[in-house]
Amino acid sequence: MMTTQAPTLPEKHYLNAGYGWRSWLLTTDHKRIAVLYLISITAMFALGSFYAALVRWNLLVPDGSHMSAETYNKAFTAHGVIMVFFFLIPSIPATLGNFLIPLMIGARDLAFPRINLLSWYIYVFGAAITLYALLAGGLDTGWTFYTPYSTVYAQSNVVIAVVGVFVTGFSSILTGLNFIVTIHTMRAPGMTWFRMPLFVWAHYATSIIQVLGTPVVAVTILLVALERIFHFGFFDPNRGGDPILFQHLFWFYSHPAVYIMILPAMGVISELITCFSRKRIFGYSFIAMSSLAIAVIGFLVWAHHMYVSGMAVYSAMVFSALTYLVAVPSAIKTFNWTATLYKGSVQWDTPMIYVFCFIGLFLIGGLTGLFLGNLGTDVHLTDTYFIVAHFHYIMVGGAIMGYLGGLHFWWPKITGRRYLEAWGKVSSLLIFVGFNLTFFPQFFLGYVGMPRRYHVYPEEFQVLNVLSTAGATILGFGYLFPFSYLTYSVFKGRPAGNNPWKAKGLEWTTTSPPPAHNFDETPTVTEEAYDYATPPKEKSALV
């Protein structure tokens, strides 16, 4: 560490720019909105984890004696709905994206600050409606709302939940819209597209998916609600409707949605891996373009969720071929990250541990996707625990590891204070172990044929389920650590100084925490991205 006197907090910054409820609930400062999102999605993550615990608790025993089938069905549905719509989709874009994109491209704020606040209120309003549906009576259709169960046979709060998710969808659309316009029109002079941080590229690609994908699922679940209220016949086979059409429209969004969840984490990894190996990213343009490629090709592959649904064989072959195509950009990214480490100067701080966790686990998640995109093996594997393991390796092993890594990396910039490095290392390893113990056994459960969403299951699957529940306990316990020491650091953490990691990027040229208006003068960018050869410019001591 530098030998100069210990860093101190700047006297004026966005956190003390105003106090009291009004300064927070009516703010249009993208940094404060990011903090509001951080608090609300952490709460939703806690609730989603509670339901996950319920599911794992039930699966300890094969006879389902721990809870009724109805409670179990409502628990896995709530776990799915909360985690997908209220944690994973907003997680990185709404917190780190909101906070960092203006800073990274040298802008004072997002293009539409009021719409940014509106998107948070829409998120909270949608969450309130959905939580009412989940808590007062519950929803038992699964987060996928498959018809005709959701439209004709379900006796739970389908319409209320649909309205909640429909409303929340617009929060995601507005965030995406805000990012696209900001990245296009508000880059600082000199910040050309190919000098932008890859974090911004990843969010640009994510925003395209958010804007173009979310409305399709919005109208689809709206049709489900219309069918339940007015008995329209869209998906009801007795009236000529086609349940498979619902699956097409639903997965048209819901597959690109998994790229909404993983692309921002990839952006975080590109930032972290360069800083902690103090080296330029390997193949910048390839990683940037692969983000866009994932966003576009991601829209062509949705029916690999439907190979056994009774769709046409030839059509399934088209989707299988395209699914293999979408695997290529992810492979390119992984190879490029690994190549970035070559001849670098790797520092194993907590964020870097999360980077290694991300790449290692995302590799398993991505490669198991090859089994599921494959027509032959998917017939056996779809709707089994192999699928559950696959998407948890991508979402928890990938997106959440990336989210935690980014949170730790930019924590000094967001709060101005340092967290305790030792606790960071311990908890990241604990989370790594807990995660693998939870989900690796599920690959075997899947291949042996245990179907998804089963309240009771044959005895021979019990041992693997007990292993998985044990892992879930460790994972749950592991997540408490970052929650506690990060919160602790907000109040008691040592001031971190403007650039504790000596990272490149415009956000590190501001004070920690940054001033309310980000930059006194709009910076002009002269360097290429990740130019770690030249030391980072210290914030000029004048202003």
């Binding site: 539409f112 804007v211 173009l212 919005a218 429209l249 006194d520």
Partner: protein
């Protein structure tokens, strides 16, 4: 904050985080177009349902469409195209600084929009009326138990499938009408601001933005009219 203060009499509408008015207008315009892109996909979902079911049940769609009066649809289309014209004239008037005309044209647009919704109301009333409790149920075209396909001149399974056509009819025209119901109050807000001389040739972005939205709603109807009202020879 030094750079801002020296902005030299910058435009009152310029928001603090933009460099200049040009950047702000470019951002607003791109934002609106991206919003319209999202709306295209939103309607795209229900148009997908229309395409699939029209392929599966052609004769039910022909029967259902014949029962719709294309004359009313034709009149409504002209009304909506007219409202698009008045909207474009409103934007034109804002661009040449005639605030009074902006208010006039926007009110004309609102009027034509209301006429359209009024016609829609009567079309719906004619189909929904018989379905209400206590009503005879003859001629009820709302899909559900009381759906009465006798007037459609088609029997058996196809009669059941006309329920799909009317589900799509109410779904698509309902979504479209909802977009107009949301558009009209926004138009009135812009009209009030124009009445207070807020807009000038340099800055009349809100008028342009609501114009883009209104034209998009008109385009949706331009596709809805032939697809719902004019299927097969009338």
């Amino acid at each position: 904050m030094s750079e801002l203060a020296a902005g030299g009499g910058q435009h009152p509408a310029l928001q603090h985080h933009f460099r200049d008015l040009e950047q702000q207008k470019a951002a607003s315009s791109l934002g609106m177009w991206v919003f319209i892109a999202q709306e295209i996909l939103f309607f795209g979902g229900i148009f997908m349902a229309y395409i699939v079911y029209r392929i599966k049940y052609p004769e039910a769609f022909v029967a259902g469409s014949h029962h719709l009066s294309w004359q009313v649809g034709f009149f409504n289309t002209l009304v909506l195209i007219g409202s698009s014209l008045t909207m474009a004239m409103a934007v034109y008037s804002a661009a040449i600084g005639k605030s009074r005309r902006v208010v006039g044209f926007i009110l004309a647009t609102v009027l034509l929009g209301s006429v359209f919704l009024g016609v829609k109301y009567f079309e719906y009333a004619e189909k929904i009326g018989p379905c209400l409790p206590g009503a005879s149920g003859v001629g009820c075209l709302v899909p559900g138990e009381r759906f009465d396909a006798s007037a459609l001149g088609v029997s058996g399974e196809a009669a059941g499938h006309t329920q799909i056509f009317y589900s799509l009819y109410f779904g698509m025209t309902g979504l479209h009408a909802l977009h107009m119901i949301i558009g009209i109050p926004i138009l009135l807000v812009i009209a009030r601001a124009a009445w207070k001389e807020r807009y000038s040739p340099e800055w009349h972005t809100p008028v342009e933005m609501v114009g883009l939205y209104w034209h998009f709603v008109d385009i949706v109807w331009i596709f809805l009219f032939p697809l719902l009202y004019l299927i097969g020879a009338h």
